[in-house]
């Protein structure tokens, strides 16, 4: 057989995948390993989708996506963050934010150009940079800086080949939210070195007691930010695969060029549902946020009580406690906890080397499950 691309082979398989395969073979596992809402998509959204099928909305849409949806996205962003995008030239509906990440990277990168990726972060960023021909440069962050990169770190990592910084706050896996001031100081560096910022803000609505800073709304942010967001988390629509990009028209044009050839358009059925989500879904989202917040406090307190020091996350639906005092690596801890107490968590090193010594626990699961998982984990800790 001819060779498989060296570039693809150089990317290791996802650390999450390995774990998933073990969990599948077990019964009665309480999983804190799920990176998606435990809510089913609100009924009004599902119903709108069914209605669209009944009415025969089964065709392609514009490559950019339904204009009504792009207008709704533009209105939403303007209403929430005061940033104004032209729905005709600055908004692209994509198949999840995942596609948008790929499009953004491919649209801007020359071979060998570098993208700074603060870690721990979502598992797809570094591979996507590599697939796009670029070089990912990990910026390790720690709990001391609330899992946010410092301006000094960013400055020190910049080379003549640096093209972009990939930000993702609120963060999966840490739940960290960056303050406006901290964001601005990163943005100032991007302006000084003329870099793009790719900002994946998929968890923007899931913040607790703080407000989210839209990177595009920062001073100097509008021109250079490729703002990515979608419907998966805020509206519990992971399986629908609808995301969007909003940015400068020239960048969008480049992204659109790739999108039209590889994807044509996002599925119309899911776009119709997304439209309903933006028009009428906010009360459902608010209720979900209230419930996440209660669970968040419960799990943070629970982890700290059983001796797993837990940074207080202000966003997303993850906690990222340290397992360092057990003397185990993330993977050892996660594997033993799974085999001995049937609680599934994700080892922190799946999200970058600096995630070693941590585990990611999702609280997108019922209160009962959280309490059960905490009891089991406490039992596990007592035995150590």
């Amino acid at each position: 057989m001819p060779n498989i691309s060296q570039r693809i082979q150089s990317v290791p398989p996802s650390g999450i995948r390995k774990f998933f395969d073990i969990v599948l073979t077990m019964e009665d596992v309480v999983s804190l390993g799920v990176g998606e809402p435990d809510f089913v998509t609100p009924w009004r959204i599902r119903e709108a989708c069914i209605y669209s099928l009944e009415k025969g909305y089964t065709t392609y849409t514009s490559n950019y996506g339904l204009i009504e949806l792009r207008e709704a996205v533009a209105d939403h962003l303007h209403g929430r963050y005061g940033v104004r995008y032209d729905p005709n030239t600055q908004v692209l509906i994509t198949v999840g934010v995942s596609e948008a990440i790929d499009l953004a990277l491919r649209a801007i990168l020359e071979p060998g150009e570098e993208v700074l990726v603060p870690e721990p972060s979502f598992v797809a960023y570094k591979p996507c940079v590599i697939f796009a021909g670029g070089t990912p440069i990990a910026i390790p962050t720690t709990v001391e800086t609330d899992f946010a990169p410092t301006p000094e770190q960013i400055e020190a990592a910049i080379t003549p080949r640096t093209k972009a910084i990939l930000l993702s706050y609120p963060s999966n896996p840490t739940g960290a939210v960056m303050s406006r001031e901290a964001m601005q100081s990163i943005m100032d560096i991007a302006v000084a070195h003329d870099l793009f910022i790719i900002s994946d803000e998929i968890y923007d609505q899931l913040v607790y007691g703080v407000s989210h800073t839209c990177v595009a709304a920062l001073d100097g942010g509008y021109e250079r930010t490729i703002l990515l967001n979608g419907f998966s988390k805020a509206y519990a629509m992971t399986g629908w695969r609808i995301g969007y990009a909003a940015c400068d028209p020239d960048v969008l044009d480049a992204m659109m060029k790739i999108h039209q050839y590889i994807m044509m358009c996002a599925p119309i059925t899911a776009q119709m549902a997304a439209l309903e989500a933006l028009r009428n879904g906010s009360s459902d989202t608010e209720e979900m946020i209230r419930q996440y917040n209660r669970r968040r406090r419960l799990i943070v307190a629970g982890m700290n009580r059983i001796g797993l020091d837990c940074f207080e996350p202000k966003g997303a639906f993850y906690v990222f406690p340290s397992v360092q005092r057990t003397g185990m690596t993330s993977e050892e801890f996660a594997e033993r906890l799974l085999h001995e107490e049937k609680v599934a968590v994700v080892p922190g090193n799946a999200f970058g080397e600096c995630g070693e010594g941590y585990i990611r626990c999702s609280y997108a699961t019922s209160l009962q499950n959280i309490q059960l998982a905490l009891e089991r984990t406490a039992r596990f800790m007592e035995r150590l």
Binding site: I16, F20, S31, G33, V34, R290, R295, A301, A344
Partner: protein, 159 residues
């Protein structure tokens, strides 16, 4: 207060300690709010949502729409009271529309409920008519769906 009440409304078995953690308040504060709400009657009682049919219990419910004439000075209140004092009466609502009171009555069988309506309700002086609807199946009650819950279809571990 609203947050604490909302949490209790969804699960009244949670302890003040747990509620305190969930809301970021102190345990004392939560206890105080709950006691105050109990005292003021904001919290009426702690009830459990039970699927009696599943429990194998024979219990019949009927919704009875009642037409009554109001009395000067007290409106419908006195007659509503005469009705709700019966232990068979589950709830009584004053409603708009073609009838005045909506009464929910329970019994062990249809006959028992029908007799109650015929003998006790319909014979009250100012009651002009009743219309009885027997409950056949409960789909959702107090926000709780009685059908089998939708299974968690998510993958056990996902990025």
């Amino acid at each position: 207060m609203r947050e604490i009440l909302k949490i209790l409304e969804s699960d009244s078995r949670l302890s003040p300690e747990e509620i305190a953690t969930m809301t970021g308040k102190t345990e004392d504060e939560v206890r105080r709010v709950i006691e105050e709400c109990e005292r003021k009657g904001i919290i009426r009682r702690y009830k459990t949502s039970i699927d009696w049919e599943k429990a194998g219990e024979q219990q019949v419910f009927a919704f009875i729409d009642v037409k009554v004439s109001p009395e000067r000075g007290v409106g419908f209140d006195d007659i509503a009271e005469r009705i709700y004092r019966y232990p068979e009466v589950h709830s009584v609502y004053l409603v708009s529309g073609t009838h005045d009171l909506r009464v929910v009555v329970s019994g062990t069988n249809m006959k028992e409920v029908a007799f109650f309506v015929a003998e006790k309700l319909a014979t009250i002086d100012r009651v002009h008519g009743t219309s009885t609807h027997f409950l056949l199946k409960t789909y959702k009650e107090d926000g709780v769906i009685f059908e089998a819950p939708e299974p968690d279809r998510r993958l056990a571990v996902a990025p």
